[in-house]
Each structure stands twice: as structure tokens, then as C-alpha cells.
Amino acid sequence: MKKIFAVVIAVILLGVGSLMLVNGDKPKDKTVAILNVSYDPTREFYHEYNQYFIKSWKEKTGEDVEIRMSHGGAGKQARSVIDGLKADVVTLALAYDIDAISQITGKIPANWQERLADNSAPYTSTIVFLVRKGNPKNIKDWDDLAKDGVQVITPNPKTSGGARWNYLAAWGFAQEKWGDEAKTREFISKLYKNVPILDTGARGSTMTFVHRQMGDVLLAWENEAFLSINKLGADKFEIVVPSVSILAEPPVTVIDGVVDERGTRKVAEAYLKQLYTPEAQEMSAKHYYRPRSQEVMKKYEDRYPKIRLFTVDDTFGGWQKAQKTHFADGGVFDQLYNTR
């Protein structure tokens, strides 16, 4: 018995030892690393963009740079940054989440959105519907989502930026159609009664819809919808374009408090600026974002469905106001969701 015990101890020690060896051979180079904290559907785009930036930074400065990525629901990601996740840059789904970082931590100036062109959003997107092949529930526009027997998949607006765009797009449609707050509320309330599950991020909802086969329609980022079709087959899903939707501007910014502390300001700023170059704009188009550059947009015009888009500023008076009215605790979303 003693022998067995000794053997076990020896195995454990061996394990510890080999682990230390494995850890010991870490190269101790002085590569600069920056952390990009992003929202869910940007994974594929930034994966490609990072390679491009690393290469061009090396060509320009001779320095190696490493880019670390963290993805999740935009609200959750902003929360992590507020709680101390040291992001050099944030590339989130909507301006309010960056506003929140600015207000609570003071690590970004309040006018951060004016620092880069186009409201600091180098690419835009919109919200469309993804339905199962053949559109069995015959979903054509927003009002079909509130019908009985239709299951709608959308993430939780409290944690996901995409979900907030979804909600505001539906609200904007209803307001235009009925022009009446009570009717709009009734429509939104009915719509969310049709939601069987609220995931925390857009990617979670996509997985629920395409992989777990739940629901009849997914409210999705346009790029996420195209990605689902490309990755999982055009024979399974199709995109339905509603009559009107929202112009989604996912903004980017440098976290001043972090880059100044870490001495990474130069590379972090270059990282974001380069998003506006023709090459990067092409990449964003490749991943089905709508590029800001008119030339690139023209080139790929026919791949984007034509939708009339309204903006948060025009319809809701800006993100600050929209957030306070709709998504704050006890706001309209809570009122409507809790009475369902």
C-alpha cells in the first residue's frame, strides 16, 4: 500500500515538474501587445484585420505587435472594462456602452466619438431577419414577428448591443407605422412574448437559432446573418429584408487611461486609424459589414439589400436618451418584458 501511495505522489510531482519545464521555455521577447475588447460578431473580421495590421505595422516601424482579442456581448464587455479589464482599444456594438465606460471610469474623454471620422464607426451594419429555408412562417416584415405562433430569437438587450439595435429597430418600425406610443408598446410587448430564450450575446442567439434549431426567425446583424448562411449552408436559411431598419454604427475608441499607463498609445491609435484605409474597408465588406468608404461601398453595392434606414439620433434622440428610456432598470423594456 505504501508503494502505491509513493507511486501516486511521484506521478503528481512529475506532473508538476514537467509543467514547470513547459512554462520555463516561454520566450521572453519584448513584443508590444494590445488588447482589443470587442463584441460578438466581429470575430472573423478582426481575425483577418489583425494579421493585416501586424504586417503593416512591422513594415512601417519595424516593431512586432501582438493583438489580443476578447469577444462577448457588448454590454458584458463594457462591464468588464469598467471592472478593470485592461483594454487598449474597445470596438463595441454601440456608442452607449463606450459612454458608460467614459462616465464611470473617466478613462475616456466624454467627446470620444468625435475623435475619429464618421462618429468613430469605421463600418456600419443593420438588422435583418434570418428565417429557415422557404420561410415556412411567411415572415415578411416586423409586424409578422408579433403574430401568434411565431418564435423569435433575439439576445438580451441588457447585455447585448445587437439586441438593443434589434429592439430599437422594431420600435422605430412600429412608431412609423402607427405613430402611437400605446400601439407601439403593445407591439413590442407581443413581440417579446414570442421570444422563448434571451441569450447574453448575439453569437449565442445565432447558435440557438442555427445549431440548436430553435425559433422561426432570428433578429440578426446583417453581417451575422450572411455569415450564418455562408458557414452553414444557403440550403438551410434565407435572409428576409424588412421594409425599414436601423442604421447600426458600432464605434471604436482608444481607452486613454489604459494606453497612457501601458505606453501603447501610438500603436493603439494606429490600429484604429487603419480601419479606415481602403484595404481594411474592403475587409469589412468581405465580412458583410457596410463599409464607410463610398468607393468600396459602390464596388460591393449589389451584395447589400436595399433597406431604408433610420438612425438612433433622429428617431430616439441619441443613445443616451434611448438607453435611459428603454434599457435602464425599470425602463420600457423591463416594463414590457416583465408583464409578458
Binding site: F5, V8, R43, R68, H71, L85, K231
Partner: protein, 282 residues
């Protein structure tokens, strides 16, 4: 009368088999099938895809981090578990039952809460934040936070395994040793430890399995930075969310392997040393 008896025993027999059958089919459905499915999906594109999925840099970093966390958390839990159960079972003191309750706390708290308490404690808006900032210590969204969260959720495993056994063994042997002139350390290493070694190993096994597999608490404090703060369970989630199903299941199969090994060792210990592990079987 006789016919009734036959009826009765037939009923009992039927019930007997019914229970066995339902238990087995339940196991097959909820345990064996998922595990088989994980391996099936992991190998669906062949062994070379499997190997490249688990040797890819991010996956390797996740495996390293998981091992590192276990190597720190498990020994600390051994020390704590031994000390706590030694104190609780061999001595009488005020607040003993309170201590036992506290040890059980991580079992009754949701892992998400366990993660959140560390954010509240060490986050950028916590009371400790200025101190951490002065000394440039990063706890949450870094390896130390992951280790702390893992420590918290694995806290009870060793102590919980040892306390009942040591309680039953009593203190006579230790008293005899001390009467014969042994000092505290001698008593512990030559009398107490040999009596509990298999139970200790059993506790370590469970503790290690949980330390490597913990998702909830670690997910909260990790920050999800690829290749830096992703443990194996978190890496599985990342890969799955990137439509990389084969790689996700390949990495998940490592955890399944761990579970199988743990299960085998556990059964081995149970069969071989049942009386030295659990009092009830003794």
C-alpha cells in the same frame, strides 16, 4: 393465498428489474451518450484535424493555464483541507459548527456569485482598487483571479472527504502516540496521515476534476482574452461560438478524458480501499 404470494413476488421482481432498467437507461441517455457524442464529433474529421485542434497555440495556452491553475489550487486545498479537518475532528473549540458551515459555503453558492465576489473585491471600483493600482497588481481578468475563483469553488472537496472519516477514527491513536512521547508532527505524519491517505487521495481527485473543469466562476473573472486568460472550458466555448465545432469538441474531449480517468481512479480507490475512504462502507 398461494396465488397471491406468487403475484406479490412477481410484482416485486418486476419492480426490481424495472428500477434497474430505468436507472441504466437514464445513465445511458444522460451520461454515456453525450460522452460518446463528444468523442464522435471530435474525431469526425479524422485524427490529424483532431491533433492540430488540440496543439493549436490558443488551445495549448488554454491547456497550460488549466494545468497551472490545478497545480496551484489543488495543493493549497490539500493543505487547507488537512488543517481544517484535523482541527475540526481532533480538537474542541468555540465556533466549530460555524467553521463546518463555512467550509460548505462554496457548495451552496452559485459559481457565478463566486466569480462576482472577486470582481466586487478586486475590481477597478472596489475598495482594494487603489492599493492594487499602486503596486500594479492585476488580479481579476488575469491568472490570479482565475486561480482564486477556482480555489473558492474547490474549497470543500478535500475537507468534506476527510471530516467524516477522521471523526469516526476518533483520537485514541493520536493520544496513544503523544503518551508515548511523539511530538505533533510525528503524530500527524506517522499516525494520522497513514490512516487517511486514501480518503485524501480521493478528495484530491474530485478537487482536481472540478478545478480543471470549472466554467461559471472562471468565466466571470477571466475577461476571455484568447490565449491569455482562457482555460480549457472557456476555450471550448470560444471555439464553439466561432463555428469551429470539430475543434470545440476536440478540446472538450480532453475534459472528457479527464473525467474518464478520474472516474477510473475513483472506482479503483473505492473498490480497493472502501473502508478507508468512507465511514459508511466500513
Amino acid at each position: 393465498m398461494q396465488s397471491l404470494d406468487i403475484n406479490c413476488s412477481w410484482n416485486i421482481r418486476f419492480f426490481h428489474w424495472f428500477l434497474i432498467f430505468s436507472a441504466l437507461s437514464f445513465l445511458a441517455f444522460f451520461l454515456f451518450m453525450p460522452i460518446a457524442l463528444v468523442f464522435n464529433l471530435a474525431f469526425q474529421e479524422g485524427i490529424s484535424v483532431y491533433l492540430s485542434a488540440i496543439t493549436e497555440p490558443d488551445a495549448k495556452a488554454a491547456i497550460k493555464l488549466t494545468l497551472l491553475v490545478a497545480v496551484i489550487a489543488v495543493p493549497l486545498n490539500i493543505v487547507f483541507g488537512l488543517a481544517a479537518s484535523w482541527a475540526i475532528t481532533k480538537f474542541d473549540f468555540m465556533g466549530k459548527s460555524l467553521l463546518i458551515t463555512l467550509i460548505d459555503l462554496p457548495f451552496s453558492v452559485s459559481p457565478v456569485i463566486s466569480g462576482l465576489i472577486y470582481i466586487l473585491l478586486f475590481g477597478a471600483n472596489s475598495v482594494l482598487a487603489p492599493v492594487l493600482k499602486t503596486y500594479d497588481i492585476q488580479i481579476i481578468f488575469a491568472v490570479p483571479g482565475i486561480v482564486l475563483a477556482t480555489l473558492f469553488v474547490t474549497f470543500p472537496f478535500v475537507a468534506r472527504q476527510l471530516i467524516p472519516l477522521m471523526q469516526e477514527q476518533g483520537i485514541e491513536e493520536e493520544e496513544a502516540a503523544i503518551a508515548l512521547g511523539a511530538n505533533g508532527f510525528q503524530t500527524f505524519f506517522f499516525v494520522t496521515l497513514p490512516n487517511i491517505k486514501w480518503a485524501l487521495l480521493y478528495g484530491v481527485l474530485l478537487c482536481n476534476a472540478r478545478a480543471m473543469g470549472e466554467f461559471g466562476a472562471v468565466s466571470i473573472v477571466s475577461g476571455h482574452i484568447r490565449g491569455i486568460t482562457s482555460t480549457v472550458p472557456l476555450q471550448v466555448e470560444i471555439l464553439y461560438n466561432e463555428y469551429n465545432f470539430t475543434a470545440a469538441f476536440a478540446v472538450a474531449s480532453l475534459l472528457a478524458f479527464l473525467a474518464l480517468i478520474t472516474l477510473c481512479l475513483k472506482s479503483f480507490l473505492e473498490i480497493k480501499f472502501s473502508h478507508e475512504i468512507n465511514v459508511s462502507n466500513g
